[in-house]
């Protein structure tokens, strides 16, 4: 696998066709005839096209379930793509497929290949096979027929049966082959990508760089022309998470899943796991990157508000290798516009450790939805007074907003109805929500107040609650 543009798909090696930035789904379906990978929405919203993407790292292949409709083809090079066809045992059914059939999950059938793939992804990468993780793994798979009750039953059954059988001293793939979850030929094909070297790509400063592609490709479908695009070179930005003194450094190439799974990150930002559960779905989080989320500059980005409240800084690296560090709050200039000079890449985020930070989000649908308003806050009390506070909100301004005036009303004062009322009034002055599909401006204003109350209540048990609202 040294040649460029070859991909291992299921148990065969194939030559990639088409432009790097085109999505993988039509290629899988039309050119390779893998029509069991279904196309339901083409925007990462339904999970019918879910495939596993296996990436060689540290001598083994890490598999993640991803939406192939948002997966740029170029990112397949040197990797292992596993579709439903690669998961079918030569005869009969895998234990996952058997559980779904026995519990009566299949109705129209359209969603099922994606669901089988997502559950297999869970078997491959969950440390322990517990139900909570299993449910999280299928959170991006929409089924319009079943009401999900049979899916829950299937997952419960699978976890009950296989969780006790997990052996941590053995490679998971080997165990899954033994259980019949993955056919031998597909598992063996994974070995073909283990030793491959990353393919260097030139960085072209004039193009929009695509990292995970989970938002950019959706914008393109919505008729927002991103201009010429190029895939972000794989090794161009850091993919490491490390503690450096009083800070946590998170590489721009770290995915949301990697971030949420990182012990160090969770310790720095205890609200991270909760935020991640509300961020897209697992098939999106498995691709979406920290850098992409920040640079993309969505005014309602979930991760961004957390990092704003955490007082994070971003490290930018220019084409000449020159580095620039600026506070995240200063990174956002205007709607979808950031302080990034031509050719600069967001290499890492630097997050101070030791803060108490909480996250809140209200969206029409609890998960798999963009916030009407989201918010995060940092709080430290000293002798009954607020010693340190920051409040960040999304969905209420052209940019993710650090509400410094509201915070100013709180700092140095007791956390009581008076200070809270003043903070709410100040908040009203600094937010500028608009009427859109995520709610009326009035609604968002009301939410901003309420999420402020909710955040402070989470961070300080003596904080006033509902009663402070008019």
């Amino acid at each position: 696998m040294s040649e460029a543009r070859t991909v291992v798909v299921d148990d065969r090696v194939v030559e990639l066709e088409g432009p790097d930035e085109a999505p993988a789904l039509p290629w899988l379906r039309r050119s390779l005839g893998l029509v069991g990978v279904h196309s339901g929405c083409d925007e990462g919203e339904c999970g019918a096209c879910t495939v596993l993407l296996g990436e060689p790292r540290d001598g083994r292949v890490i598999y993640r379930a991803v939406a192939s409709c948002l997966l740029p083809r170029g990112d397949l090079v040197g990797r292992h793509v596993v579709t439903i066809a690669g998961l079918n045992p030569p005869e009969g059914l895998s234990p996952i497929q058997r559980a779904l059939v026995d519990e009566g999950m299949p109705q129209c059938g359209f969603c099922l290949s994606g669901i089988v793939v997502s559950i297999t992804g869970f078997f491959l990468d969950a440390e322990e096979l517990d139900l909570d993780r299993a449910l999280l793994a299928v959170d991006g798979n929409i089924c319009r027929c079943s009401g999900y009750a049979s899916l829950r039953r299937s997952l419960r059954r699978l976890c009950d049966e296989y969780a006790p059988r997990v052996r941590h001293d053995r490679p998971r793939v080997e165990q899954l082959v033994e259980w019949g979850v993955i056919p031998t030929a597909t598992a063996a094909a994974g070995a073909l990508v283990v030793e491959s070297e990353p393919v260097p790509r030139p960085t072209d400063g004039s193009r929009t760089l695509v990292a995970g592609g989970t938002d950019l490709l959706v914008q393109a479908r919505a008729g927002v022309d991103p201009g010429p695009v190029a895939l972000l070179p794989r090794e161009a930005v850091s993919r490491r998470i490390e503690v450096v003194g009083e800070h946590l450094h998170v590489g721009g190439g770290v995915t949301l899943t990697e971030l949420a799974e990182s012990e160090a990150a969770r310790e720095t930002l205890p609200c991270l796991e909760e935020m991640a559960r509300r961020f897209g779905s697992s098939i999106i989080r498995n691709r979406a990157t920290v850098g992409g989320n920040l640079v993309n500059a969505s005014p309602a980005a979930d991760l961004t508000v957390v990092l704003l409240a955490a007082d994070a800084e971003v490290d930018l690296r220019g084409p000449d290798g020159r580095r620039r560090r600026i506070p995240l709050a200063r990174f956002y200039l205007d709607y979808r516009r950031v302080d990034r000079r031509e050719g600069e890449l967001l290499d890492a985020v630097r997050i101070p450790r030791g803060h108490a930070i909480a996250f809140e989000k209200v969206s029409q649908r609890h998960v798999l939805d963009i916030a009407s308003v989201n918010a995060a806050a940092r709080l430290r009390m000293e002798d009954g007074r607020i010693a340190d506070v920051a409040v960040a909100l999304g969905g209420v301004a052209p940019v993710p907003l650090l509400a410094s005036r509201a915070a100013g009303c709180l700092r140095g004062r007791p956390l009581d109805p008076t200070s809270l009322h003043e903070a709410m009034a100040a908040l009203d002055e600094e937010i500028t929500p608009i009427d859109d599909v995520r709610g009326s401006a009035r609604y968002k204003r009301a939410l901003a107040h309420r999420l402020l109350v909710a955040l402070l209540g989470r961070l300080e048990s003596t904080a006033p609650g509902l009663e402070v609202l008019p």
Binding site: H38, Q97, G109, F110, D139, I142, C145, S146, A149
Partner: protein, 758 residues
């Protein structure tokens, strides 16, 4: 012997139309939809699009050889716009090109100029303007006007229920292939193969025998492909007819969302009068149905609303009026429940309000007024085998209403922020097409001489398990293993003049026809077995693939018997016809017996409202449901659970709105929010009523597809409880969907500093 559909599905090996290889030289179609809700076409110039490389043809209404009309009930729906456009997305032109992207790109080259006309978007405004599809219809019993004064209390109010997108995962698609002598073979993702055949023949000016429609399965439908699959198949057929080449059309999700109709929004006024014992005396209701730009199935849907006006209750004096209002929105269409949920939601909201007024527990009022054997519906039908009370009482006992009610009250006293609501929701849903003529089905059964069986019916498999049920009926009737039976595609050349697979009747009617056909073959086989075993035919039975003589296994196996039958020149095929007996309805008197029977059930629905954030969750739904003697429990359970969650989505989540220009606000898939795993309640308990034989359907079963959708209403009512627990000063109206924004509006009422109430 044969792989099951379920097995194919989990292996990703079941094929949907878009998964099939296309015929050689197949063209791809793209549709130009009107950008305006209402207007006169001033100019339609397709020349530039025609000249584009890769484009083979661009068709407009002038290319239609037959009648430019596909309206199923009223002739008000042209296939391609003619003179005027009446809704955004109305098909104006069809581009045929060598691939789909070329076809879509060429749409931009069509010059379409429209002089805008005022657009009506609201049902009540349309009614005021006299824009009705038909004169208002009224069902009445007793003398409503004379009893109001006898009522101890009279409550009134308005209920709004919104549109709902089907979001079948497989979008609308079809492939039409020209065959010899000008005939066409069409693959269509439709619930109504005959509908496609009939309308295509009409459009092309061909006899129906020239059009063959074949359907393997649908990737979800829920009513959205009952009538609205037709235009896409007819457009493919038109393209194939004109070019002589095969044509494939598959809408992408955005097109599907913005071109196709949804569940009808209703705005309804009610008035309910009760005596001081809580007995309902009089009920008056007016349904304003937003029908959209053409009739589609709206009048039939309105009729079903009228049939369900009183829900599960007996009311002696009723006047229910329905208006189908023509607006400039994409024609609203069939969706699971077909007008029944909209009507049931109104009376449940009325009962809720009445209970508040009387200061009694709502469930007590509900129980007092439940239908009993012999009660008469407002349309004259008598309730028979009525199980409303049985389901209600069993649900209340089995799912421990009393204790849970108390727990909810206690919780609400103690928790200032999280408020719970608990609703009991009885349902009653009539089974049969309300258009009596549609209640007929046919089956064609072939027994091959190796002992395998192929069954053709008019039923379309769309995930509801109708194929599995019909296979079970065939196997049980013939006394053989189900593995022998294959349900083949639904094909208009094999089974003709089919009714759509709809109204929950697919298994009832097609199963009954299959049973009749199998019985014919069985009689012939038993006759032969009697001769071979030299025994009277009455003593012959086929069971477990073996001929039994006087209850004992004989040496004669099924396969040997079949093989002998063939050699003896016995007819191993049979065709049978089933027409639902004892039904009929007179639309002049609005009286009759439209339904073969009713399905009953009761749900207990528990919700929690977070009064700070204004968000709600459905915690638990516990159901007792009457499914007769279930043909297949796993299938029926899946239907109940799936319908429930769709109903919950309709009540709480799925917000479909149009802007002032008649454009769908949520035309991108990321905004069309349907229930996900997290939204669906963790705890869904379904108990099927026991000892509940149903003499009026095949093998004593009951229809199951639509009725459980109505359980969703319980979440709306329970949420009203929770809202009142948070804000005892409020009397919120049921306005679905109760989205987070609506909930917060209620919670913030009337404090204008924070937010105005609308």
């Amino acid at each position: 012997m044969k792989p099951e559909d379920r097995v194919l599905h989990v292996r990703g090996e079941s094929r949907f139309i878009d998964d099939l290889p296309l015929p050689d030289g197949c063209l791809h179609a793209a549709v130009l939809g009107s950008p305006r809700a209402h207007g006169r076409i001033r100019r339609l110039d397709v020349q530039r699009a025609r000249r584009r490389a890769g484009v083979v043809a661009v068709l407009t209404r002038e290319d239609i050889p037959g009648e430019n009309q596909i309206g199923p009930i009223l002739p008000d729906e042209p296939l391609l716009a003619e003179g005027e456009v009446h809704h955004v997305g109305q098909a104006v032109a069809l581009v045929l090109a060598v691939d789909a992207s070329t076809a879509r790109e060429a749409l931009a080259e069509i010059r379409l100029e429209i002089d805008p006309l005022p657009a009506l978007l609201d049902a009540r405004e349309a009614a005021a303007a006299g824009e009705l599809l038909q004169p208002a219809r009224t069902f009445a019993i007793g003398d409503v006007d004379s009893v109001w004064s006898d009522c101890a209390i009279v409550v009134e109010g308005r209920v709004e229920t919104g549109a709902q997108e089907h979001f079948y995962l497989e979008t609308q698609c079809a492939t039409a292939e020209p065959r010899e002598d000008g005939t066409l073979h069409i693959l269509s993702s439709t619930q109504s193969p005959t509908g496609v055949q009939r309308q295509t023949a009409r459009v092309l000016g061909l006899p129906m025998h020239a059009i063959e429609v074949d359907v393997r399965r649908l990737g979800g439908a829920f009513g959205g492909k009952e009538d609205q699959a037709t235009p896409w198949a007819a457009l493919c057929a038109l393209g194939a007819h004109v070019t002589g080449r095969s044509v494939h059309l598959s809408l992408d999700r955005r097109e599907d969302l913005s071109f196709t109709g949804k569940r009808h929004p209703y705005s309804s006024d009610y008035r309910l009068g009760l005596d001081d014992e809580g007995r309902m005396l009089a009920y008056e209701v007016t349904f304003y149905q937003n029908a959209g730009a053409s009739a589609d199935l709206s009048t039939a849907i309105l009729e079903r609303s009228l049939f369900h006006a009183t829900g599960s209750y007996h009311v002696p004096h009723v006047r229910a009026t329905g208006l189908s209002c023509r607006t400039h929105l994409p024609p609203f269409t069939a969706f699971r429940g077909f007008g029944g949920p909209q009507a049931t939601a109104v009376i449940e909201a009325a009962v809720d309000r009445a209970a508040r007024r009387l200061g009694r527990p709502r469930h007590e009022l509900q129980r007092r007024n439940l239908l009993d054997e012999g009660d008469v519906f407002p349309f004259g039908m008598v309730a028979e085998e009525c199980r409303a009370r049985r389901c209600f009482d069993e649900a209340v006992a089995r799912h421990e209403l009393a204790g849970r009610w108390q727990a909810v009250e206690e919780h609400n006293r103690e928790d200032p922020q999280f408020k719970k609501g608990l609703a009991v929701t009885p349902i009653c849903f009539g089974i049969s097409f309300t258009n009596t003529s549609l209640n007929q089905a046919r089956a064609l059964v072939h027994l091959y001489h190796d002992g395998s069986v192929a069954v053709s019916t008019g039923a379309v498999e769309m995930g509801q398990g109708v194929g599995r049920k019909i296979a079970l009926v065939a196997a049980r009737t013939l006394g053989v293993d189900e593995e022998r039976v294959r349900i083949v595609t639904t094909n208009t050349s094999r089974v003709a003049n089919t009714s759509p697979t709809a109204a929950s009747t697919g298994a009832d009617m097609n199963g009954a026809a299959t049973r009749l056909a199998c019985l014919q073959i069985l009689e012939r086989l038993r006759g032969l077995a009697a001769r071979l075993l030299d025994a009277p035919v009455e003593e012959i039975e086929i069971r477990d693939d073996v001929v039994h003589l006087r209850g004992e296994r004989s040496e004669l196996g099924f396969e040997e018997l079949v093989s002998r039958a063939f050699l003896e020149r016995v007819d191993l095929s049979a065709h049978a016809h089933f027409a639902t007996p004892d039904i009929g309805f007179d639309r002049r008197s609005e009286q009759g017996r439209p339904f073969a029977y009713h399905v009953y059930g009761t749900a207990l629905t528990e919700v929690t409202l977070d009064a700070l954030r204004g968000v709600a969750t459905v915690d638990r739904v516990s159901i007792v449901h009457d499914v007769g003697r279930s043909l297949d429990l796993l299938t029926d359970r899946g239907q109940v659970e799936g319908a429930l969650v769709q109903g919950l989505g309709w009540m709480l989540l799925e917000d479909i709105r149009y802007d002032e220009d008649g454009r769908l606000v949520h035309a991108d898939p990321s905004r069309a929010k349907v229930p996900d795993l997290h939204f669906a309640p963790d705890a869904i308990e379904v108990h099927f009523l026991e000892d509940a034989d149903n003499p009026r359907a095949v093998l004593s079963s009951k229809a199951v597809g639509e009725p459980p959708f109505l359980y969703g209403i319980g979440a709306g009512i329970a949420l009203l409880d929770a809202l009142r627990a948070a804000r005892p000063d409020l009397e919120p109206a049921l306005e679905a969907p109760l989205t987070p924004e609506r909930l917060l509006q209620h919670l913030c009422t009337p404090v204008t500093e924070e937010m105005d109430s609308r």
